[in-house]
Symmetry: C2
Subunit: 306 residues, 2 copies
């Protein structure tokens, strides 16, 4: 079953302790759809400017990614420039030029309107809502990402879209800010009271944690980050994680606790590949068997017998 | 086989978002020995002052802890006062009164000199060295804790004791400071070049990570922190972890990769009990079957099938 993603497609300028690139393709929807395409068919909705060439488009070709919803608008593509320190959380934004993204109003091509799986990447909650309004029927699984800006500035709109969300995928700081709770289990309980049944907390170098509304101990699952000696570029790790996670779920007949756990692992696998090189360099070259091999490495990181 | 621990016995005054205690028994060797005593016989070496009563001693009675190495000195017992925020890492030290601990020179009773398992809690590396000099033969397993103060101020002495250490158990910040490497895998490699074959990195709310000198992917194991809704008092978590870890190893006939992994789990179990209540309140009431039950909960936190 195919998976709809709505979010940013961008050019990034990146500086990390391992190097520097002046302009590389990025954006949440780009990382997400490349990662998800290893598991399922992806329908992408986003906007690019006149500077986005057929060469840039190449990343989507030869993959199960339909870009008929990638709108071309007059002007320049969203541009972001940032610098990371040795600690990937030390991120400094050097430039944010929204360009054509500022006026982005997601329009679903008719063929995308019956999507059963939807991922709303981090954009204005009002736009996220407008996406759901264009979908016929009730999707089986709606995943959502957001950020501190929307939590602070559009709390009512965010709450409204969360009422329709099944899986919320945010980081620890966002979890605490949204719930006004430092403890992540209480924070999860607060978030469940708004709508989502599943909270996936992305914790960067510490991996990820999933909490289900089932509540009990069985409802909590953690996966470590893959130990890498060099994290070349943390950009896109969270979106690649979301792509692996949602892609795996979309391809699963039933969504059980075990399937959600495997989705967490495949999400972590895709996130770990994303950070190995700059931009999409590594992710675009990943082979399916490398994904399986890394998933087995993940199993070995936490396996023990009592 | 019995386990020798040398370190502080103290009185603590604690303030956390969940309450306040003016004077409770604490100290690294206390938490360590209570935690380890569930797995093995513990021989404790430390010092207390005249204010340490038979009532305070009660914590050790009825457990497999030999305190004939707990010296009484004229003066007052080591006293520490601290305050924690909602983030347990936000620790403010309000008072440190070394008292009798300032002149502590560990003296092993004759019966302790043939110890095969030794844990050198966080004290001056020169004193840690003097403990090893009092031991006959080569211990099977020497674990060591240290802190930023010794890393900065006595690097040569610390290096010397590390040459004899099998398992170094420190937190992420200390790992980075000691190795001058941000990346934990490279940091581990640096530490292996000094002496230890195993590095256990304590990461507080993110759990713990073990790296062996074997190098490959099999040499890395992670365990999450146990998800608790209320961390009443983080004091002693690391020492209780060390107690569970070293206690489990001491009781194991052979030290294999699987045994080290289980030791990590039992360490995490004991650490998770320690923080549930103030001081040693919870740890002193733990039952062996609660330990086994929690270990199974730990297994469930990370279990998945591919």
């Amino acid at each position: 079953m195919s998976l709809l993603v709505v979010g940013s497609v961008a050019f990034d300028a990146l500086e990390t302790p391992f190097g520097k690139v002046d302009r590389t393709l990025g954006g949440a929807a780009t990382y997400f759809s490349v990662a998800a395409s290893f598991f399922t068919h992806v329908n992408l909705v986003g906007v690019v400017g006149e500077d986005f060439t057929r060469h840039d488009e190449a990343i989507f070709r030869g993959r199960r990614i339909d870009i008929c919803g990638l709108e071309r608008a007059p002007g320049k593509t969203f541009f972001w420039a940032g610098r990371y320190g040795h600690d990937p959380n030390e991120r400094v934004t050097l430039a944010t030029e929204l360009n054509v993204f500022a006026a982005f109003r997601p329009k679903l091509p008719p063929g995308f309107r019956n999507s059963r799986h939807v991922f709303l990447a981090n954009i204005d909650p009002t736009l996220q809502r407008s996406v759901l309004e264009q979908i016929d029927g009730r999707p089986r699984m709606i995943g959502l990402d957001t950020m501190n800006y929307w939590i602070e500035n559009t709390p009512a709109e965010l709450r409204e879209i969360l009422r329709h969300t099944h899986v919320l995928m945010i980081n620890d700081a966002e979890t605490r800010m949204l719930s006004n709770e430092h403890n992540l289990l209480r924070a999860a309980r607060h978030i469940f009271s708004i709508g989502p049944r599943t909270l996936v907390i992305k914790r960067g170098e510490y991996g990820a944690m999933m909490v289900h509304s089932s509540g009990g101990k069985d409802g909590i699952f953690t996966v470590p980050a893959f130990p890498l000696e060099e994290v070349h570029d943390p950009t896109g790790a969270g979106d690649s994680f979301a792509g692996g996670f949602m892609g795996y779920l979309s391809a699963s007949r039933r969504i059980t606790g075990g399937v959600l756990r495997r989705a967490m692992v495949y999400g972590s696998v895709m996130g770990s590949f994303a950070v190995e090189r700059f931009g999409l360099e590594r992710l675009r070259r990943v082979k399916r068997r490398e994904i399986e091999l890394r998933a087995r490495h993940f199993a070995n990181l936490t396996r023990f017998r009592l």
